[in-house]
């Protein structure tokens, strides 16, 4: 398994947990994003994910690198592409550290940066047969360079 990457088959969360496991880690945080049955009041039947694949992989690797640098964590990220049904995992992120605070902070950082910067798009399929692109986030220079999760103040 590639610890950071895009996949077309169901994501194995246990494999991501294994990828960040180490005897020195006392805390592992796991995020699983799944396809939800509604959005803005409309019944959703599935979501189709696509990506600018070479850049998306690089951007995932950059975010993982930033999380390692900022929080000294181990990171694994997999995002799925293709058409997913309700309840299927679109993204799984595992982060591990000796202690829980950096693990949880780093997990939040990776989730938010992924949503802001990684060139992945989704088109929702609705119960009435229609489809629509979901315009979630416009990446801006600010969101690319500024850390989203504030660093703890050193006193």
């Amino acid at each position: 398994m590639t610890p950071i990457g895009l996949v077309r088959a169901p994501i194995d969360a246990a494999a991501l947990l294994a990828a960040v496991a180490s005897p020195g880690h006392g805390a592992t945080a796991l995020f699983v994003g799944t396809v939800r049955d509604h959005n803005d009041g409309r019944p959703v039947t599935g979501i189709e994910y696509s990506a600018y694949e070479p850049m998306a992989v690089l951007e995932l690797e950059r975010i993982a690198g930033e999380a390692r640098d900022r929080f000294s964590v181990a990171v694994a990220i997999q995002h799925r592409l293709g058409t997913l049904g309700l309840g299927e995992a679109s993204v799984v992120i595992a982060v591990a550290h000796a202690r829980r605070a950096p693990a949880l902070d780093a997990l939040g950082y990776v989730v938010e940066e992924l949503k802001r910067r990684v060139p992945i798009w989704k088109r929702e399929h609705y119960a009435d047969g229609s489809r629509a692109w979901v315009a979630a986030t416009v990446p801006t220079p600010e969101t690319i360079t500024e850390p989203l999760v504030a660093q703890p103040e050193v006193r």
């Binding site: 994003g33 696509s50 600018y52 315009a135 979630a136």
Partner: protein, 89 residues
């Protein structure tokens, strides 16, 4: 009196994704620029196309797989992509 040097044409293929690809009906378009033109100029030219459905503030430009600043000058051989609002996760 100085003689103006005629601008050197620079045509670049620009990759399109998601709603932009759908609006243009294709996954890449050739864009006619001049040598020295920037990322900002490229975005202006593409979004001036009547098929474009997004405003400049909604579209970022990636050059060689990284987000690029508007003042970056484009070169032949650059891989250029227009990135509409992203929605991973």
């Amino acid at each position: 009196m100085t003689t103006a040097t005629p601008p050197t044409p620079l045509t670049l293929d620009v990759l399109l994704f998601a709603s932009l690809a759908e609006a243009f009906g294709c996954s890449s378009i050739p864009v006619a620029l001049e040598a020295g033109d920037t990322v900002g100029r490229l975005r202006e030219v593409v979004l001036a196309d009547p098929r474009a459905t997004l405003a400049a503030g909604q579209v970022r430009v990636a050059v060689n797989h990284a987000f690029a600043a508007d003042d970056l000058a484009l070169r032949p051989g650059d891989e250029i992509a227009l990135i509409p609002p992203v929605a991973g996760g």
